[in-house]
Amino acid sequence: MNREFTWQQVEPDQWRIKVSELIDSGFFYFDFLTGVDRENIDGQSDCEVVAHLAKPDLSDSRIIFTQVKSELASIEDLAPASSWYERECAEMYGITFTGGDTRPLLRHEGLGRPPLRKSAVLAARVLTRWPGGAEPEIREDGRKVGNVSRRRQRPPGVPENWLTP
């Protein structure tokens, strides 16, 4: 099946209204809902919630997304299939879906920051020495040879302001 996805941005307070509208106009197959951490993208620091709803024969579908601070109204009652996704999104991105099921889905409680947020530091990456920081050593009788780059090397995927050991 070859089809273009139609994306549409929605204001957070219109989220439930938009979902109801879509369901009423035949897009009542709820496919998925997830989060996107926008930090460091386009200078934004919010999280985005994205949902995909389709017609049951998959002939047409809509992707809607909205910028959220930390809360969004749950659509669990409108599209029951969204419940697990909301719970997953809540524990992975730290978004509260008001009016929805708040039980944890996959993680144990008290495990710290939501792991899929960029601000969640992977301690192992901070505590482990990154072997890529090494440069060819200069040894010729103490004489400086070789081009040692002044640029401090950083491991990929580790933001600049992360702690260093």
């Binding site: 482990t128 072997p131 090494a134 060819p136 200069i138 070789g146 491991p155 990929p156």
Partner: protein, 105 residues
């Protein structure tokens, strides 16, 4: 070719550190130093990196092949299968001598 061992072709390695930096498991360790070499007829000496040590920690390696992919000098290659088992985790760190290709990749 079986994707089950990564061999280092020592002579081709320029100690450029690309594989070390790209390895997602951070399991390659490389030590090198720079010397000046004056080739016959050349005006100025050339700076050459000399490889001192190159280790892959096979207890951590996920056989993703990223290192092979990023090496601009084809100094890393998939090699014939060598089942790597050990009674000691430190012994799974293989150095230059143990990383040589078996010759029948």
């Amino acid at each position: 070719m079986k994707h089950s061992f990564i061999a280092l072709i020592e002579d081709k390695c320029t100690s450029c550190m690309l594989c070390v930096r790209e390895c997602p498991a951070w399991c390659i360790n490389l030590d090198s130093h720079t010397v000046e070499v004056t080739e016959e007829g050349a005006r100025r000496p050339k700076k050459v990196n000399v490889l001192d040590s190159f280790d892959i920690d096979y207890s951590l390696c996920m056989y993703c092949g990223v290192c092979i992919d990023v090496c601009p000098f084809d100094a890393l290659a998939w090699d014939e299968h060598r089942a790597l088992t050990s009674t000691n985790r430190e012994d799974m760190i293989l150095g230059i001598a143990d990383l040589r290709s078996s010759g029948n990749a």
